[in-house]
Amino acid sequence: MASITIRGVKKNYAKTPVVHGVDLDFASGEFVVILGPSGCGKSTLLRMIAGLEEISDGTIAIDGVVVNKLEPRERGCAMVFQNYALYPHMSVAQNIGYSLKVAGVPSAERAQRIQAVARVLELEHLLDRKPMALSGGQRQRVAMGRAMIREPKVFLFDEPLSNLDAKLRVQMRSEIRKLHRRLSATSVFVTHDQVEAMTLADRLVVMNGGRVEQVGTPAEVYSRPASRFVATFVGAPAMNMLEGTVTLDGLSLLGDSRKLNVSRTGLAVGAKVAVGIRPEAVRMVAPGTAGALAATVDLIEELGAGRVVYVDLDGAPFSIATSETVHPEPGSTVGLQFAEQDLHFFSAETGGRLDVFKASVPEPAL
């Protein structure tokens, strides 16, 4: 159990900055997921915590101790790698017990602890096998066992589920969650998969372009995205985003082609904004219904439990997620309706969130 404090951490490769000053606090025992697209610096940040990557600027402290200059082994972290990084020439038992062997733990105690970990992970019958002879899910479990046996203060996960097939991924996801509940060690989990992030996280850190965009619980991030990037990155299908201008009686959207009546906002008339609306918050109504936007149906994706309807709104793509059994024909016209409070406003220049209905004065962009 340990807290992690990250202050002004930067990373440059040669002259290229990849992480531009990150400040984060992870509480003891928390499960934090760092979410972001590839190349956003999330893995680099994790590797800096682990000690596999030098910290160019700023400090990282584990339990109040600055670890910038400490070797990986002195930091009390264990890591699960994306490709598992199992030692191919060692058996499962040797893989799991390697850290104890290095630490000079006597072989009797070592065997006992390997057994204990193997029992938790249901690996007991595989202890003599080589990693080559294991399936993806089993390898994944061995990698977890190797991290667990050290009883680390901090668990680091670097996209550990991305090499598994969809079914196994869901299963391992819940196993990781259970494991965390059981060990309650501080865990940092890096992923680009937002479903994984939403389901695992106590707290979510969304990163983009080497910066932190938002920190919050999954529900917070989903319902009040702090920026346009977060709004479109979190949630599937992605949030619809329409360019608009504030008018006296509401909004004009898509280069004045559509009008939308909304309550008075605190925004200046003529301000450029991006208006976001989640596909789940849109209702399809008969075309011509008062206040509804008319759109042409492009494509329907059947998902079993529901369906996603892709429509064309004067050239702008727009999607609707619905669980109703409506089957509009491609090419037909539908009306789109949504509640005012489901609209998200973002500054057209900075991409930051504008809380227009909450207060008359917009919050400064994050």
Binding site: R73, F81, A85, Y87, H89, Y98, S99, V102, R146
Partner: protein, 294 residues
């Protein structure tokens, strides 16, 4: 799925193989067969037929103390030069793999020695190790007479070992470096997370994972030390002093072409061939067991 080229008619396949088969037969099996034939006959030095003598050539060689001396010199040479060339290359490659400053330079520079013909490098080493004017002249200045490959057999052996190893360090280095670089970075990082230091990681992770390369180089180095040593011995010591560096491959040449004992030389080359085959079999039987293939 393995991709294979298939031919509708087997004749096309044979036609493709024929050029290679002709080459192998003409330059490998036919000369080897001739050597076997000669080794069982007595060749006239000035031509004019040969007499079948059975295994007499082998009996006379194997009862000759000089020949046994040559075998032991060859084994000493093979053992020490292989060990030296491989261990130096291993250390250099391990350091280069750690991306130390200037490692790109070694990578380029270290392959050059292998490109130099053995006689040329032998000549260079002859100058470098010359007792009266080379590097070692400094040693002789301090302790007169300590170093003289022209008089002292072990000095001469050391000279050819150094020259041969110098050539093969570069060759081995390239293979070792490739092997090190083929180890996924994350394995090393995982070991680091497991608390393993640089040296420990080398022995526990990197070394076992490059054993296929070590094994391959062991076979190649030993084989080459029996064969590729000819040019170096010829230029540096001519087998002397007092036969101390008269390696098997050099003795074949000197007995055959200087001593004009063609049949004896042919028998010696058969023995050398058998020795190399035996050593290779031993290596495959006993050392390969310890190799971890991924």
């Amino acid at each position: 799925m393995e991709k294979r080229v298939t031919f509708g008619r087997w004749t096309i396949g044979i036609l493709f193989a024929v050029p290679q088969l002709i080459l192998i037969f003409t330059f490998f099996y036919w000369p080897a067969g001739q050597a076997v034939y000669w080794s069982l006959t007595l060749q006239q030095p000035w031509g004019g037929g040969n007499i079948w003598v059975g295994l007499d050539n082998f009996r006379s060689i194997l009862s000759n103390a000089d020949y046994w001396n040559s075998i032991s010199a060859s084994l000493v040479f093979a053992g020490i030069s292989t060990g030296l060339a491989m261990s130096i290359a291993l250390v250099l490659a391990a350091l280069t793999d750690r991306q130390l400053a200037g490692s790109w330079l070694y990578r380029v520079v270290l392959i050059w020695p292998y490109g130099i013909a053995a006689p040329a490098l032998a000549l260079a080493f002859r100058f470098i190790l010359a007792p009266e004017a080379g590097f070692m002249a400094v040693v002789n200045q301090v302790w007169p007479g300590v170093w003289d490959p022209g008089l002292d057999g072990s000095d001469a052996m050391a000279s050819i070992i150094v020259a041969f190893s110098w050539k093969y360090v570069g060759y081995n280095f390239i293979f070792f470096l490739a092997a090190f670089q083929a180890i996924p970075r994350s394995l090393i990082e995982a070991a680091a997370m497991d608390g393993s230091g640089v040296i420990r990681r080398f022995w526990d992770i990197q070394f076992p994972l490059i054993t296929p390369t070590i094994f391959f180089l062991l076979v190649i180095n030993i084989t080459e030390s029996f064969q590729d040593s000819f040019g170096i011995v010829d230029i540096m010591t001519s087998g002397g002093p007092a036969n101390a560096t008269n390696l098997m491959v050099y003795k074949i040449y000197s007995d055959g072409f200087k001593g004009l004992d063609y049949s004896g030389a042919a028998a010696q080359s058969i023995i050398l061939m058998l020795l190399i085959i035996a050593l290779t079999i031993v290596q495959f039987r006993f050392i390969e067991r310890r190799v971890h293939y991924r």
